[in-house]
Subunit: 221 residues, 2 copies
């Protein structure tokens, strides 16, 4: 069996588990986001701020995916929301089969929104459906505006691009207009929210995105 | 054939090509670095500065690896050194088999140092030998000091960690001592050079590292 065929089988198997995950999300009425970015783009810090901002508005849960350590789950769990950690043990992305066992640890019907924090990687996570409603990505302004052209799949697959760490814009060479233009060339419907976990700029817009998409995808409470 | 067996065969095949690449490097007397980091850590900008700093000291060539575009090769080529671009067409790393055809485009014996710029990814590139003498990685201070614990293989495999974008240290929360301590827990012999392509701090130390390692690995000119 060749490498390509094995990859096709892996994706076929994954699609079946993703469909089961998707059915469980629909039954529970929970809106699910697959959050992706490069390592160090600020996924975990954004989730800490989001947990705080959602209090009294959205019941949030998080699955944190990493190759190793429980650091992300421990950081997010301090904000009083249910969190599960997945360690991939070397794999550079999450797939539906890795996520499925973690779901059993949640009472999904008690959640409005579940965010799955993928492994930090701008390539492979975009190839795997985990049963989510939306893929959301962060491109931090410290990474450079050339990333849409160089890593096109993630930008094509995402509904929302968070333009992260915008508090650092004065100190880096980052062409905001070029980054958005290149990303929308790949994906004309891509929504964009500039955001800073440090200043909280854009955070309210992100919470409103979660509220709106929850209503659109699974109906109102 | 299972996924694990296929992966083992891929690595076996790769090892054979890596050995051939290594023999070609030894014959030509060229010291070869496999340069790895997250997307947007500043590999290409560092190579532009390095090309400038090596003039009259080291004859440098570069292989630029990306999923798509010729942008990196075009940027580096402006500095008057030989450059080849590899596009992986989706693969999230370089392996020895992808690098081998690019080598044919160089007169290797006319080079002192060849730097292979890997795909931006903190995970998979560290798994593949391309026949290099040393793996060198960049951890930029905007990515956070938790990366050694979360992405241990790359830190274990590298001879040198460049602590990049240190001009941004005043504006980010990055614990330099913790990052170096955690990286050296994984790899006690890891060399570390703080560097900024913007201010050129550390650049001379990096060029001296290349000169020293070239002498150690392939002898003096």
């Amino acid at each position: 069996m060749g490498e390509v065929e094995v990859n096709k089988n892996i994706l076929d198997d994954n699609a079946a588990v993703a469909a089961a995950n998707r059915a469980a999300f629909a039954k529970a009425g929970v809106y699910v986001v697959n959050l992706m970015s490069s390592p160090g783009s600020g996924k975990t810090t954004l989730l800490e701020r989001t947990a705080e901002a959602c209090r009294g508005r959205l019941r949030l849960g998080v699955v944190a995916g990493d190759i190793e350590t429980r650091r992300d789950a421990d950081r997010i769990g301090r904000w009083g929301i249910p969190v599960e950690q997945i360690n991939t043990g070397g794999a550079c992305h999450l797939d539906a089969r890795m996520v499925a066992p973690a779901l059993a640890a949640f009472d999904l019907s008690s959640l409005d929104v579940l965010i799955v924090e993928n492994v930090g990687n701008l390539v492979c996570p975009a190839e795997f459906d985990i049963g989510e409603h939306d893929k959301v990505m962060i491109l931090s302004v410290t990474e450079g505006a050339d990333k849409p052209a160089k890593y096109p799949l993630m930008f094509s697959e995402s509904r929302l691009m968070l333009l992260g760490k915008i508090d650092l814009l004065p100190y880096v060479d980052f062409d905001v207009d070029a980054a958005i233009r290149d990303a929308r060339t790949l994906n004309p419907k891509l929504e964009v929210i500039p955001i800073s976990s440090r200043t909280r700029e854009g955070l309210e817009d992100f919470v409103r995105f979660l509220e709106r998409r929850r209503a659109e995808c699974v109906g109102r409470r």
